[in-house]
Structure formats: C-alpha cells, structure tokens
Amino acid sequence: MAAYLTTDWTSAFLKKRILFSTAFLIRIVLVFYGVYQDKTMLVKYTDIDYHVFTDASRFITQGSSPYKRATYRYTPLLAWILIPNIYLTALFGKLLFVICDVISAYLMYSILHFRGMGNDKACRYCALWLLNPLPIAVSSRGNAESVLVVLVVATLYYMENRSLVKAAVCYGLSVHMKIYPVTYALPIALSLQTLKDPETEALGNKASSLLSKRIQKFFSRLLNKDLLVFAVIAGGTFFALSLIFYSMYGWEFLEHTYLYHLTRRDIRHNFSAYFYMLYLTAESEWSLALGLAAFLPQLLLLLITSFAYYKDLAFCCFLHTAIFVSFNKVCTSQYFLWYLCLLPLVLPSLTLSLKQGLGLLFLWFAGQALWLAPAYYLEFEGQNTFLLIWLAGLFFLFINSLVLVRIISHYKQRRDPQKTKSG
C-alpha cells in the first residue's frame, strides 16, 4: 500500500529528523500533560499499570519481592528497570517508554532502508507508528508495551542484518518479558535453515522423491551453525534470566510471570470470542476440554503461516501475532499493539489500494465499537448485555479474520537483492 502524499510541506515534514523530533516532542508534552491531568481531574491520564509497576519497584527498594503488589504479573526485570521511579522522578518510566517507542520507529526505518526503500518513503511508513495516536497514548500513559515492541523490532532488525548474536539476545529478552514472541521461534528457525543448493537438489530429486526423504533433508537443512548459535544464545539468555529471578523470588516469579499468562482464564468480559463460553463453563467439567479446543485453531494457524511466510520474517511475525491475539482466550486492546507495531514493515509489501486499506481499518474499528457499546452498558449501567457482548466478540473475530485474509491475498513477496546464498 503506497501513501500518495505529494504536497511540498508534507514531504518536508516527513523528513527523518523533523518527523522523529516531532514524534518525540508530542510524547513528552503528553507525559507532562498527564501530570497535570492526574493532579486536577477525577479521571486519571496515567494508566493503572504504571502505578502497579511503581509500587512493585517500591517494594524492591524496601528489600522485598515485587510480587507483594497485587496484580503485578510481569518480570521482576521491569520493576528493577523502573527503580529510578522511586529515587529520581516518578516520570522516569514514562520517559523510558517514550524513548523506546521512538527507537522502535527508528529500527523500523532502518529495516525498510536496509531493504532498499528510499528515505522519504521509509519515513512515511514510520509516520504510521510515530504519529499514530494509539502508541502515543499507550507509552505516554505509562504502559510498558513499547519495551517489548523495541525488543521485537530489534530482533527483526538484527535478523535482517544477519547479526545473529544480537538478534538472539533481543529475542531471549523479549520472550522473558512476554510469552507471545515464543511463537516466532518456528519462523526464525525456518529462516535460518541452509538454503537449498540447486545442484544437490536436482540430484536429490532424481534419487528419491519420497516424503520421508524430503522430511529428512528438511531437518538436516534446519540443523546448521546459524540456528544452533541462535538457539543457544536465545535459550541461554532466557534461562539465565529465569534462573536469576527464580533464585531471588522463587515460585512466585514463575507463577506470576509465566504460569498466570499461560493458564489465564479471565471470565470477565473482554474482546475474545471465547469469553462468554468460558464464563458459562467456568465451573463445569468441560472447562479443560473447551480450553484445549480453543487452543487448537491458534496452533494450526501458527504452524501453517510459519511454513508459508518464513522468508519474510516481519510479515510472518505480524500474521503470527495477529492470529494469536484474535484467537486467544483473553483479548484486551493492549494486545493490539503487539502486531500493529509490525504494520509499517508489512504495508510496503501489500498491493492494497489506499481506499481498500482505509476500508479495512474502518471495519476493524467498527468491530471494536460494536463490542465496546454493550460492554459499557454491562459494566457501567448494570444492564444484562451478555448475549450482545458475546455476539460482538464473535463478529470481531470474524472481522479480524476477514482483514487478515485480505492482507494475505494482497501480499506480494518482495524480491530481495541483498540476500545471498549461504551454506
């Protein structure tokens, strides 16, 4: 999808330096505005999560565990990073998140540039993140999503550059912080396989075209030095961090950072299509079986998209996360950022027109609005709108699937002149 902004002032505005500085400035201004709003108005600007992080950091400075703070379900690393919130200024965390946000955009720009895109065009796609109200609001309100975004985009950036060690460290860190990047393991592994050598391939084809032989060859291509290096370093980073924090905080760390998210069955209303089903069956013996049934579509889709699109890691990861979030048992608007951050990297490869793209965007927002209305009436007016929320959740899943189908059918695999044969 190409943006046709040809007027002079917009192209001057979209020059890299001006764009990035403006984006940074907007976020800083909002952080300070948030201080004002928190002091004067009843509805606070700062997200409740920010207070959870700060309280957890305070517990660490007092020498105890961050998990003493109820609803702190993150890695202790986050609370440790935010210790300056207690000693320096309460705004430290927000400033850190804002900086991570802008760095993510810079990494997106670098990836697009590395793929051969011109400065101006790359800036236009990055503007979709830099000037997008959603990430601006999220990081200035104090949500830590931008830390994860910067880690994921950095992983993709280092994979493009084939700096495998740095990519592996970033990847290990990102999985430690939130579990969902673990789904990227398969596409990353597939993208690191030894490229087929045409001569040996032709010989092989003559010898045998049995499925078992092809599978055997596939696995032998997979086990190469690059993949082993990546696996060892990413795995090492993840396990080292887990070991350190386990020795510091024990079982609580595992429970809140990982187990809670893996077994989370939030029966309170959320965007997920499964919400009402899980609420009604929360105490029945079918609960486990249904949970598993809900897991299978996610698994199947993730497997098949890995094999189909591993050559373009950004697109594959985008599909992975969009599928994961849409088919998940719990879905909140915070999760949308996890795949929206990859959109600037995906859009250049799509042949959708501006009109089609905006149409899909409108559809996506309409789906959310249709859910938010009955949800508001349930939570704040006490009306029994459970059926409506359920139907809206199903409809939202359908819309998400429709949007994904359109994106998949308009994806054009780019020819990558930079990729050279290895192995």
Binding site: A273, L394, I408
Partner: protein
C-alpha cells in the same frame, strides 16, 4: 470516670479478623444518673445509599445525630461486606488524599476472583464531622461488584445485599458514658493508620430504610449449549477462512 475505666476487664476477645475487641465492664450504681443524661447517644440515624449503576458503585453512609455532638467526636462504621463485592485498596489509597473518608481493611482482598471463589470481609470506615450539615458524618466507600455464577433458571440479575454496619463513636473520654450497663464498649484502631487502639462506644441507631443492595447482571446457564456451539462454529469458520487464504497464497517450499 477514670476509676470506671480502671474497672474495665477484658474477658474475651471478639474475632481478630475485624480489628475490634468487645470489652466487658463492671457497673457502678452511682453512675446511674449520669447514664441517663446522654440523650445524644440515642438519637443517631443512619441513611445508606448506593450510587452509580453497574459494577462500580459508591456506598454512601450518612450518619445523623438529632442532638448536639461533642466537639472532636469521631464515628467509625464497621462494615461487613459480602463476597459479592470487593474494595480496591489501591484505589482507596489514592482517594484518601482527596476525601475525608478513611478506610482500614482487615484482610487481603483478591481483586479479580469471582464471587463464588471469594469470601466476605470487614472494612473499618472512619468519618469526621461533615461541615455541610449539623451534627452529621458522611462517608463514601467505593465498592465494586464481582462476577457471579451464571443463573441456572434464567434470572437476568443477582441481588447482593450489604448489611447495616455497626456504628461506633469516640469522643473526649469525659463525655462518653463508657461504664454504663446498657452501653457496649469496643476496642478498635483509633485511625485508619492503625497505630494504636482506642476505646469506642457502640451505638444502636435507627435505620431509615432496609439494607442496601445491588443487582448484578449474570450470564444465563441455559444458553451454554448454544453459546459453545456458536463460539466453536465461528472460530472454526474463521480458522478455515485464514487457512484457505494461506494455502492459496502462501509460498510453500518444503
């Protein structure tokens, strides 16, 4: 009066889970005249209201005394809240900066559990004299409703009743007839900061209306089959849609 206090004997403690301790005392015949003079203690009325709708409410308790209340009096409401609601301690901490209501919670509260996995709890709500009306105390306690078990017989809502609180009063010791036989004396924290214990007098009051309650929407258990079938069908449909698109357009190279 000090002598009377010395005669107070702790015979047994009430349940430690709500911070209070009932106290037994000796009666003194000489105090009978004094004991009948405290009309203001008989003229308390408590009006309770739940404002807002939905899952997030505010429990407003208006404690009115028909007679003059001694200077520096403090009122404490001992709330026993049912398992169907909860109070957010973090919300209370930030609200305490702006409001006169101070709250002390007796136990840890799980903010996310549904009602059937939770238990009732006690809250001590401290109030000071409200300057806007004569001899009254107003407290506001934000309460949130928990998710309840889906109804098996098609009721759209579940009623959660909040029982009337115990009313305790504290003032200058000389003005309180702590030793009188009809009065029940209790020990409880002096303030929400829980640094020290004070002696409070329990008041029997008139309640204007019956106990407040809130109606919470619940799911309909009878729909479970339709909901499961519908959900799994739609997810299967969407899964096939995306599978089909990937199979058709994907670049498979095994």
């Amino acid at each position: 009066m000090a002598m009377a206090l010395f005669c107070l004997i702790l015979l047994f403690k009430s349940t430690p889970s709500d911070f209070t301790t009932d106290v037994h005392k000796h009666t003194h015949k000489g105090d009978k005249g004094y004991c009948s003079e405290n009309d203001w203690l008989e003229s308390f009325t408590v009006i309770r209201r739940l404002i807002n709708n939905g899952f997030h409410r505010e429990l407003v308790s208006h404690v009115q005394c028909a007679a003059a209340v001694p200077e520096g009096s403090q009122v404490l409401l001992l709330e026993k809240l049912p398992q169907g609601v909860y109070v957010d301690p973090y919300q209370l901490t930030s609200a305490q900066e702006h409001s006169d209501t101070q709250v002390l919670l007796a136990s840890e509260i799980d903010l996310e559990a549904p009602a059937y996995l939770s238990s009732g709890f006690s809250a001590l709500v401290y109030a000071s004299l409200d300057p806007q009306c004569s001899w009254c105390f107003t407290t506001t306690l934000p309460v949130h409703a928990r998710y309840h078990r889906p109804a098996g017989s098609g009721e759209a809502e579940q009623r959660v009743s909040i029982e009337s609180p115990r009313l305790l009063v504290r003032a200058e010791e000389s003005t309180l007839p702590l030793a009188c036989p009809q009065n029940k004396v209790t020990e409880a924290p002096c303030t929400a900061q829980n640094h020290s214990l004070c002696v409070w007098l329990e008041i029997h009051y008139q309640q204007e209306l019956e106990a407040v309650s809130l109606q919470i929407p619940v799911g309909d258990q009878r729909q479970v089959l339709a909901v499961c079938t519908g959900t799994l069908s739609v997810t299967l449909l969407c899964c096939c849609m995306i599978l089909g698109a990937v199979w058709k357009h994907g670049h498979f190279q095994l």
